[in-house]
């Protein structure tokens, strides 16, 4: 188990710098938004929290296909499936590794990027909090999508298509927490719902992912 986690982290760091690239993509999205919508800071402040959430969602998404595809191609997944580790555990570990290399850096970096987008002062806490609660769900849901598309060559776009609708509830509640926080409103209800979704996804989806993976490995 620990061996799998360390290997995945090591691979992420060595093969094209896992940590850095998710962040870099996030940065680029944040930088491009003002070019797209124009530089008025009032407008930017209004959409800042939403863009931060969208940016981290897309950054997560782009790194999903790494979760299983490489292991599938070189046959490691076949071996892992017959190894004396329950597949559910292996899937959870993979999701954890994805979160550590993608989700966590995004949470840490969000305040900095918030500054670039003129995020209003009281918004920082809720944005970070909502990302901290929400990104684990993104990783777990993404792992399910990656398991679904594992046999398909360059399934990247298909993966996005399958996963993004599943991201909708997380995004809605997460962005709602962030937006209400920025407007200095009470955000306890959406935060509870967000936490609920995260816990539910973490508790249940690994079983679905493992089942899907078993089918794909047949």
């Amino acid at each position: 188990m620990i061996a799998l986690l360390t290997r995945d982290l090591r691979l992420a760091v060595r093969a094209g710098g896992g940590f850095g690239l998710g962040l870099a993509f996030f940065l680029i999205v944040v930088v491009l938004v003002p070019f797209g919508v124009g530089p008025q800071s009032a407008l930017l402040a209004k959409i800042a929290s939403g863009i931060l959430w969208l940016g981290s969602l897309l950054a997560c998404l782009l790194s999903l296909d790494r979760i299983f595809a490489l292991d599938w191609e070189d046959g490691s997944l076949d071996l892992l499936a017959t190894a004396p580790v329950p597949l559910e555990a292996a899937v959870s570990i993979k999701a954890l590794a994805h979160w550590l290399t993608t989700g966590l850096p995004l949470v840490v970096a969000a305040p900095v990027f918030g500054m670039l987008l003129n995020l209003p002062g009281p918004g920082y806490g809720p944005v970070v909090l909502s990302l901290l609660l929400g990104t684990p769900a993104l990783s777990v849901i993404g792992t399910f999508g990656a398991a679904l598309t594992v046999g398909i060559k360059r399934g990247g776009l298909l993966l996005s298509l399958l996963v993004l609708p599943l991201y909708v509830p997380t995004l809605i509640f997460g962005a709602e927490v962030a937006r209400r926080g920025a407007d200095q409103m009470d955000y306890s209800t959406p935060m509870l719902l967000l936490a609920g979704i995260s816990c539910g996804a973490i508790a249940l989806l690994p079983f679905a992912s493992a089942a899907v993976l078993r089918v794909n490995l047949r």
Binding site: L4, D74, G75, T82, A83, L217
Partner: protein
Amino acid sequence: MELTVTDLAVARGGVPVLEGVSFTVMAGEALVLRGPNGCGKTTLLRTVAGLQPALAGQIGLEREAMAYAGHSDGIKAVLSVRENLQFWADVFATGSIEPALEAFDLNGLKDRPAGSLSAGQKRRLGLARMVVTGRPVWVLDEPTVSLDVSAVEMFAGAVRTHLRGGGLALMATHIDLGLDEARVLDVRPFKAKAPALDDFDGAFL
């Protein structure tokens, strides 16, 4: 320990490929499958190793007893040879990788990233992985592809050690493995016959 396969039928892409395959491999024995290209050796091995479901028949051992090595070796190019092996040793909880490095003469290469190995060196690493799994049944698909003469001897030596330790091995190949004592099974007689046409049921055939 013995591996008994009875009346096995295997399919690929929904098409039955082999049927009525039965054989027994005792501990300490190696069985080599032979047959022309496309006759279904790979499919049979994957089924026995538990990587795909059988159409019919029984496989005497559960898949936790098997270690499978096919055409792709599960090697990570960015990890070193030692890290690659150590990972599998940890997953299978078998401890030391020294014997495996020894058996395939990988000590000189152990700190090289696996991606920079030549075809034959990669293959040796892939086979060394079999040793660290500690599993009693080795299922090997064309194991000596790309190996030179001395590496084929290393392979034969490793298999003999495995057999002496009470293991057993099932292999498919077109070329000589250097294992003269191994029993050979030609799979051609088991070729699946086309089923009757009007037997149109759940399997669409």
